[in-house]
């Protein structure tokens, strides 16, 4: 009987300790776990996941880091969208942040910067003087506290991709830097009459590309980043007009039939397959076409988003908006600190950056040296050569909640369930 009691107690103790062990969160260095300085596991989150055009380059860069150091990268990358951003922020809030994060350096990063969950570059340089020494300090993004936290990656641009085959079939010329809104509407009508979708865009998932340029079209480069206090002020009126422009395009039937239920991937494929003519997207999409439609690159070109009002079609959205952060969690872990620093140095080295860059700006002191450009990359370079003005995205200056609300309501605005004024006021209330 005593034996049974002892057995029962032992079993119970094992069960309880098992449960409690699962609750523990030991932040002590994991050297005791058998990891040495050359056998460290780093959790890394980037936006180079899914169908990102730089996915292959990222994988190659990670592999070269692993081969050189013997460390292991646990990659939890995903495609960048509002849901991904929310998930990253949630990870910080719940204490499950990665060791290294490649993320936006704008208002999106504020929650974890203000919470002291990432380490600033000056602190890192105090221990590792050569950290990010190949970058121009003047191009490092500053947080609200004036400190630099992220080592910038390559920049981006957003502009209009066109399917030249569709345009040719419809007798429409490839838009030039003087492309007007009126001409665009005429072209859309001609394209629609031929049975194509003039615009490839999922208003359900990625209305932000069109919103950004529509705001530009109703203002100037100088006031593009003004945030409205309500739908009635000058900035608010710009946003309202922008939403109404998108609604006008929707009512005219220029978006795909299923634009309110399709994903971004579906509408991009529509464009790639030659069933839609225009697509506003970013520099990251160039490599997507290179990787997935390499034999059809001659069918695509990068042109200009139609302009109205004071804006010129040669003005675009662009800048450097993302970079590598080292989290406080990794920094405070002696086993991971050096590995995390080495990883960021590797990913932002001149050599690795040159594999990511084709036509984008960088913060590298020596500049990037991309290999020979293919047809589409050359088209992007040619279009960029004619760009007369660049401004950052206004959506990057508002809170995630504001953005999520605004873009979720685009579908309600275009279908008339909500007025543009209501949508702007609802979003601003979340900012």
């Amino acid at each position: 009987m005593k034996k049974k009691k002892l057995l029962a107690l032992a079993l119970t103790a094992a069960l309880v300790s098992g449960i409690l062990a699962g609750c523990g969160n030991d932040n002590k260095p994991s050297n005791s776990g058998g990891q040495s300085a050359s056998n460290v596991e780093l959790t890394v989150v980037t936006s180079y996941g899914g169908d990102d055009g730089n996915r292959k380059n990222y994988e190659n860069a990670v592999k070269s880091y692993e081969d050189a150091t013997g460390n292991k990268i646990l990659d939890a990358s995903d495609s960048s969208n509002e849901e991904w951003k929310a998930k990253v922020l949630t990870d910080f809030q719940t204490g499950t942040e990665p060791d290294v994060l490649f993320f936006f350096t704008n208002a999106d990063a504020e929650p974890f910067v203000q919470a002291g969950k990432v380490v600033d570059i000056a602190t890192i340089r105090a221990a590792y003087p050569d950290y990010a020494d190949n970058m121009r300090d003047s191009m490092l993004a500053s947080a609200v506290d004036g400190k630099n936290y992220a080592v910038p990656s390559s920049g981006f641009w957003e502009n209009m991709f066109v399917n030249t085959k569709v345009l040719a079939d419809c007798g429409v010329a490839v838009p030039g830097p003087d492309y007007t809104w009126d001409q665009f509407l005429k072209d859309c009508e001609a394209i629609k009459a031929k049975g194509y979708s003039p615009i490839a865009c999922s208003l359900f998932e990625v209305p932000h590309y069109w919103f950004e340029f529509a705001v530009m079209n109703n203002g100037t480069l100088e006031n593009h980043l003004d945030i409205p206090a309500s739908a009635d002020d000058a900035a608010g009126q710009k946003w309202v007009a922008a939403l109404n422009d998108i609604k006008d395009l929707y009512e005219k039937g220029y978006f795909p039939v299923n634009t309110l239920t399709a994903t971004d991937a579906e509408t991009v494929q529509l464009f790639a397959d030659g069933e839609a003519a225009f697509l506003i997207d970013g520099s990251w999409k160039v490599n997507h076409f290179v990787d997935n439609y390499g034999d059809q690159l001659d069918n695509y070109a990068i042109a200009y988003v139609p302009a109205k009002g004071q804006r010129k079609a040669s003005e675009a959205i662009g800048g450097i908006s993302m970079g590598y952060f080292i989290t406080k969690k990794a920094w405070d872990d002696p086993a991971k600190q050096a590995a995390a620093v080495e990883f960021v140095k590797h990913m932002t080295s001149d050599e690795v950056m040159s594999t990511f860059v084709t036509t984008e700006v960088t913060a590298l002191k020596n500049g990037a040296s991309p290999a020979g450009l293919n047809a589409l990359q050359q088209a992007a370079a040619d279009a960029n050569a004619n760009i007369t003005g660049v401004v950052g995205a206004v959506q990057d200056t508002v809170s995630s909640e504001c953005k999520a609300d605004l873009f979720a309501n685009v579908q309600n605005v275009v279908t008339g369930k909500m007025s543009a004024e209501e949508a702007v006021n609802s979003a601003i209330a979340q900012n």
Partner: protein
């Protein structure tokens, strides 16, 4: 030895304690905290509450005025009803059919149960391909059969309920099918033979012998189906995301997730979570009363 073990309650309590502690830690404490959160102002997961809401019951007022929540509730109730009719109904028909065959019964059991072991995410992606607008399997099939001249948007406002509910129904039919087949196997063959001698065969046998004897199993299935339907989240989320189409595709689960994780409205998400729990308790109580198992069978 045996009886003494049960006379002494000490060891039993010791064995019950870990599970009890586990529930306290991971169910009841979070649940109570969730109630408190619903009165607080919280703008992000893991971030501390910034005091109480103004007024403190504000989220509960919003519950009654939020049109998206009304949509979510309507869809969830409809899904629950469809679950009863189609999930358990189809499972019952399949179970009766499989029970009446002798060759291949095991094969059908495996085939019908198979969807259960596939993750909802994988199923969601698969059904996304089936219902795809351009080049989707269903549109291609209908087009090749000459039944449609233009592709159907299966996720638009006219079709989304079917597109959302059909995969959910399909996924769990096998689960209830297996339970019902097991129940059918427990019915003695002697009863069927006696019924046959009395001239009761075919449909009459099902009506007067099988169904009455299967009642308790059927009741369990119905209660499980109803409470399960209230918690459906993963498959609709993978297929429809945030309220597609045009905020008409919300379920209580997907709306709670969106408010909590995507909108940072954690306190309102907590309030919706409480509503889901209240509905679950209410529905399962009603189901338990309506489909009360009988002891005399």
């Amino acid at each position: 030895m045996g009886p003494t073990l049960y006379r002494k309650k000490g060891p039993l309590i010791v064995f019950l304690l870990p599970a009890f502690l586990f529930l306290i830690l991971f169910l009841y404490y979070p649940f109570l905290q969730n109630i408190w959160n619903s009165f607080s102002h919280i703008t992000g997961l893991g971030t501390p509450a910034q005091g109480l809401n103004q007024p403190w019951y504000g989220n509960y007022v919003t519950l009654f005025t939020d049109p998206k929540l009304r949509t979510a509730l309507g869809n969830t109730v409809l899904l629950t009803l469809c679950t009863v009719v189609f999930q358990v109904g189809i499972a019952l028909i399949l179970a009766l059919l499989v029970d009446s065959i002798h060759v291949g019964a095991q094969l059908f059991r495996t085939l019908y149960f198979f969807p259960i072991v596939i993750s909802a995410t994988a199923l969601g992606l698969m059904f996304n391909l089936i219902f795809l607008f351009n080049g989707g399997m269903l549109n291609q099939l209908l087009s090749n059969l000459g039944l449609i001249s233009q592709n159907i948007d299966w996720k638009d406002t006219d079709h989304f309920l079917f597109t959302m509910f059909a995969p959910v129904m399909w996924q769990y039919v096998g689960f209830y099918f297996v339970i019902l087949v097991t129940g059918l196997n427990n019915i003695s063959q002697d009863l069927y033979e006696a019924a046959a001698l009395d001239g009761c065969t075919g449909f009459s046998q099902v009506r007067y012998v099988t169904l009455p004897l299967l009642r308790n199993v059927l009741c369990t299935c119905l209660v499980l189906a109803i409470t399960g339907a209230l918690k459906v989240f993963d498959l609709p989320w993978v297929m429809f995301g945030a309220g597609m189409p045009q905020d008409q595709g919300w379920l209580t689960g997907t709306y709670m997730y969106d408010q909590t994780f995507n909108r940072g409205n954690v306190d309102y998400g907590s309030t919706i979570a409480i509503l889901i729990v209240v509905l679950g308790v209410l529905f399962s109580n009603i189901a338990n009363r309506v489909f009360k198992p009988r002891d005399y069978i």
